[in-house]
């Protein structure tokens, strides 16, 4: 465990070392946040409320957006690129020689990035959001607790998907930016930009059977109280099921990737 702790600490240190990057990252997040909030303000503006306005009010929608940007800035899934780069540059065989399970190292790398993101991204974002749009309050203490639990599952689901996409590199090294395709799909179907309850019914029905909406929409829905306590428990259980399914799938792919490297020597 100490070894993983070291990886986490190193990652925090390197992230802080890029001073300029840190400041810019903050400003970028705040701009994107503001841009999204203004779109919602226009959508809800002038007291003319479309059918969408009945589901959730403007203040809640702003909170939804703030929390979504916050989660996006904290969730770090560098594993996708790490595996891709290591495979492409032929370092993966060496990585396998390390005495610790490789995925564990990659995970602690990402957790380290999350810790530093909490300090240098999440906190300034919250401060900016409070100043610009008021405090994004949760619906209640229970909702907040549910949100924390659910966010944890969200991160695990996102991380597992990223690791899987990264592993495509073991078979097709050139398909490096497949990860960006996945990211584009996740952005939409996770409800991180527009909650899925605004989508056409057909899309919503399909989406329930996909893992994506359980990454952003589920925890944020719980936070703003759109998801009731009973539904929240059910949603978190579904998240748990997805973690198990994706985890098993990843383990299976990893096993094959590993034996592939061992045969070819990377």
């Amino acid at each position: 465990m100490r070894a993983y702790g070291y990886f986490i600490k190193m990652r925090v240190l390197t992230a802080l070392a890029y001073r300029f990057e840190v400041w810019i990252g903050m400003v970028g997040d705040i701009i994107m946040l503001a841009a999204s909030v203004y779109i919602w303000k226009a959508a809800y503006g002038n007291g003319v409320v479309g059918s969408g306005g009945f589901d959730v009010g403007l203040q809640n929608m702003i909170t939804y957006t703030v929390i979504s940007v916050l989660l996006a800035s904290v969730f770090q899934t560098g594993v996708q690129n790490t595996i891709y780069t290591q495979v492409r540059e032929g370092n993966i065989a060496l990585d396998f020689m390390r005495p610790l399970p490789l995925l564990g190292i990659y995970l602690s790398d990402d957790i380290g990035s999350m810790v530093s993101a909490l300090v240098n991204k999440a906190i300034p974002l919250i401060v900016a959001a409070v100043l610009l749009f008021g405090f994004p309050l949760p619906a209640g203490a229970g909702a907040f607790a549910g949100f924390l639990v659910s966010s944890l599952f969200s991160f695990v689901i996102l991380w597992l998907m990223s690791a899987m996409v990264g592993m495509v590199a073991f078979w097709v090294a050139e398909l490096g930016n497949l990860g960006m395709v996945k990211d584009a799909v996740v952005r939409v179907l996770s409800g991180s930009l527009v909650p899925l309850w605004f989508f056409p019914d057909a899309v919503q029905n399909v989406s329930e059977w996909l893992p994506f909406q359980y990454t952003y929409q589920t925890p944020i829905g719980i936070y703003i109280g759109v998801t009731t306590a009973g539904d929240a428990v059910r949603a978190i259980c579904i998240q748990g099921i997805w973690v198990i399914i994706l985890g098993l799938l990843l383990a299976w792919i990893w096993k094959h990737a590993r034996s592939k490297v061992m045969v070819q020597g990377g």
Binding site: F20, G28, A42, A43, V172, G176, L178, V185
Partner: protein, 270 residues
């Protein structure tokens, strides 16, 4: 004239080499072909969902929004084809790639920008052209010669404004060694300010995006004019004149900043 022919010849050969290099990795192309259209078609879809569920955004219905979105994407696509190296100024600085360019008897900015003709970037133009034509027909765009000429001037001017902004931001790396995140931020911000109506944002921000950074000229003000909306910026003559003029001025400024930064270039290693 001789000089111009020289630069055109070299540009032609650079482009040939770049296309050859990009075709060396065909699967890479396939993944872009999946990625870029997904990104932009879902983007416009999000707008449609919002408008359907709520109301036109500060007076812009879905047809108008799609027109603006498409118009913005056109100059975005051209920048991605012709000026993408500016996004990677940081890498060029860190790897000392300007060494090679400085050792050749040609303009360094020219070599830098044309050295990687981004053939793959044509993919960015696909959603742009599709969405623009689709929306132009929805809003009853007049496809007459005069309007097409105006459109061409606006798109070229918009491309220049974007290219200038990326050049300036990329050149920050000459001083700080880093500009990648700044570029990412600019790309994301550009999307939100050229493909969505500026009137969504507070007056102060509109002013900044008009007078400080002339982003409004790229697509928003021209779109207002094409769509015969009450214009939020009163100017004599049309935006078809103003956009390319602003583009040229801003481009000259960007070139000066790049030149200045190049003097601060420290090469790589010792």
């Amino acid at each position: 004239m001789n000089e111009v022919r020289h630069y055109v010849t070299v540009f032609g050969y650079y482009a040939k080499l770049a296309i050859q290099r990009q075709l060396e990795y065909p699967l890479f192309l396939v993944s872009w072909l999946l990625m870029i259209p997904t990104q932009y078609f879902t983007g416009i879809w999000m707008l449609k969902i919002i408008v359907d569920r709520f109301q036109p955004l500060s007076g812009w219905g879905f047809h108008d929004l799609a027109f603006l979105y498409g118009l913005g994407l056109l100059s975005h696509g051209l920048v991605v084809v012709f000026f993408i190296p500016t996004w990677g100024t940081e890498f060029a600085v860190l790897r000392g790639e300007f060494d090679r360019l400085l050792l050749r008897p040609m303009n360094v900015f020219f070599q830098f920008v044309t050295g990687y003709f981004n053939f793959i970037g044509l993919i960015d133009l696909i959603p742009g052209v599709v969405i623009f034509i689709y929306a132009a027909n929805l809003v009853g765009f007049d496809w007459g010669i005069g309007n097409l000429l105006k459109l061409a001037l606006v798109v070229i001017g918009g491309t220049l404004i974007r290219a200038s902004l990326y050049t300036i931001i990329g050149a920050v790396a000459f001083w700080t060694k880093r500009s990648r995140n700044l570029i990412f931020m600019a790309v994301a911000t550009m999307e939100r300010t050229t493909m969505y109506p500026l009137t969504l944002y507070p007056q102060a921000i509109q002013a900044v995006l008009t007078f400080l950074l002339p982003i409004g000229f790229i697509s928003f003000y021209p779109a207002e004019q094409f769509l015969d909306k009450s214009t939020s910026l009163e100017l004599p003559l049309g935006l078809a004149i103003w956009t390319p003029v602003v583009g040229l001025i801003f481009f000259a400024l960007a070139y000066a900043v790049f030149r200045f930064g190049l003097q601060k270039y420290e090469s790589a290693g010792s």
